[in-house]
Symmetry: C2
Subunit: 339 residues, 2 copies
Amino acid sequence: MRRKRSTLADVASLAGVSAVTVSRALRRPDMVSAKLHDRIQAAVRELAYVPDVAASRLASNRTHTIGVIVSSLTNGVFADYINALHDNLLPAGYQVLILSTRYSEAEEEKAIATLLGQHPEAIIIVGVDQSEHARRLLESSGVPVVQTFQLTDNPIDINLGLDQEQGAYEATKALIDLGHTRVGVIASRLDARARARLEGYSHAMREAGLDDTKWRATTPEQTTVMAGSRLLGDLIKAGNQPEAVFCCDDLLALGVLFECQRRGIKVPNQMSIIGYNNLEFAASAEPPLATVATPRYEMGRMAAEIVRKIIESGERPPNNKIDVGYTLELRGSVGRRRA
Amino acid sequence: MRRKRSTLADVASLAGVSAVTVSRALRRPDMVSAKLHDRIQAAVRELAYVPDVAASRLASNRTHTIGVIVSSLTNGVFADYINALHDNLLPAGYQVLILSTRYSEAEEEKAIATLLGQHPEAIIIVGVDQSEHARRLLESSGVPVVQTFQLTDNPIDINLGLDQEQGAYEATKALIDLGHTRVGVIASRLDARARARLEGYSHAMREAGLDDTKWRATTPEQTTVMAGSRLLGDLIKAGNQPEAVFCCDDLLALGVLFECQRRGIKVPNQMSIIGYNNLEFAASAEPPLATVATPRYEMGRMAAEIVRKIIESGERPPNNKIDVGYTLELRGSVGRRRA
DNA sequence: ATAGGAAATGACAGCGCTGTCAATTGGCCC
DNA sequence: GGGCCAATTGACAGCGCTGTCATTTCCTAT
């Protein structure tokens, strides 16, 4: 059981061939006779041989690894995105190495350094606000980098995202256009995306001549349903009960919905709610939660396609800043203002 | 920008020392004079040097990597667990390499092979029902393996989990004890854990002399809120409207809650709902969702501790089968039968 | 039957780093 | 001021694999 792992040489001697031949049989079966191939496969199975990627990487200078850095593995927002990356990279023979920054700049720098030590052939990273040091690491790595989820005029390499602020602006404006003036905002975590959305809210409010500071409840804590409930409570306790709320995430919106039910506030008659991201549950809620749908799966698919093209043919997208857009989904949780 | 990555030797020549010294300065700063250390650090920063783990692994035969295999990265069930692993392994200097099987046996075998190629120092894997081939790979790797989430009498190495069937049994029995006889069950995905829970339901029903097949709605599709809503619809459409439902996951329970609201079925007066896992939103729902709370963070923490002990001191837990238990949380979504 | 060439296989070096042991330096005591 | 030991630094080999080129084998066409 605790026997030493077998190596190429072990397989080779069991199959009665040279190590190079085994290596070829495994990587390019067409270069080896069928008979030998079978014999080698048998030896591989018998020894439960698994190639050592470290040695392979060192000899070939290829890792077949794509590094992915996300802000959180807990947050459902990144689930579709990661799935898309898996769906489009694994079948093409790439390994996907996922690291989480847990919304910390320090952890992000560490994650990038860790990743670079693995010699990924490309890096796909959430966000555009990396620290100076992180940027330098990425730039000097010489590896293609795709920054996602947000847009920036100053990408490290390639940028694929959406205008988070604009999405929030439109959501808030939709509430205002429905006649609401006491429009609140709820945000948590306060990472770059959340801050951009707060900006969008403020923009829409000020544009309509409304106070953008009066109905605001935020917390640096992580985004949870409970936080949504509590933040609505905070707003109401402060004597500023809104008639509509823009939530910077669907989880918060769900928390707000439950809190309204608890307090007997009718949605949407007495309270309109709109969230962000179009997480799976939003459409299934009762009433269905309005939201700003972000094309996360599509963004992951495109990122995968871009890095594959660059790696496999050196072909770069014509434009290094790609806007994947968003869709405002107005559902049952929002309604026109009642007298 | 596309310049070649720098190596130890580059750093060494810039700092005017030998490569070995640089290696030591980075790994064991105490073995190098302070002055040199500073000079080397400066060179490292200047060149944006990042050590090559492949070369390091080859030379030292250590990877500082713990392999983690989960069934899904989308499912919130694994989020706390992964967080616990991160919290307890990253600070100790380990890298955590997470792979997802996406509930597929074939992908699980591939993930295990991929992982072994990385020479992890231990493997933590969800579930106890690996295929024969997968078991062989794991056993012959000679690496400590911790199987989690479920219990088995025949572990590969170490087993840390809970009796999924028993949890479901107790949940169902709680509903029966509240006077309900038309007790339904809703399950999705139908992976090993879901099947164990269905078993637990059947056990409780049969024990009470009730039909365990009449109020059953399942789907092989993935676990979503929408699936919960639809499955409740299926039950009712079949003319078997239950008065209580045990859901094999909280997401399904949430879907059932929303569907009840949509259909005007009062919870808990006309319908008791109990879920599984105690996901974050369960306690915040209105009414709060009863559930079988599984100690996922604690399970991750313990798994991390076990592998660290084995790696660092060779010390194995006294028992290779550890039951972490569960807690039945009866909340507002369940109530006694009304006339 | 044999030359000629394609297909299949092998030999060898080296990827970047670290374990091991050897060499050098510096500090301290008498 | 010389000798001794500890602290610091260096030289060298080799981890397991693959790129490259050399060699052998096997056909095919004459």
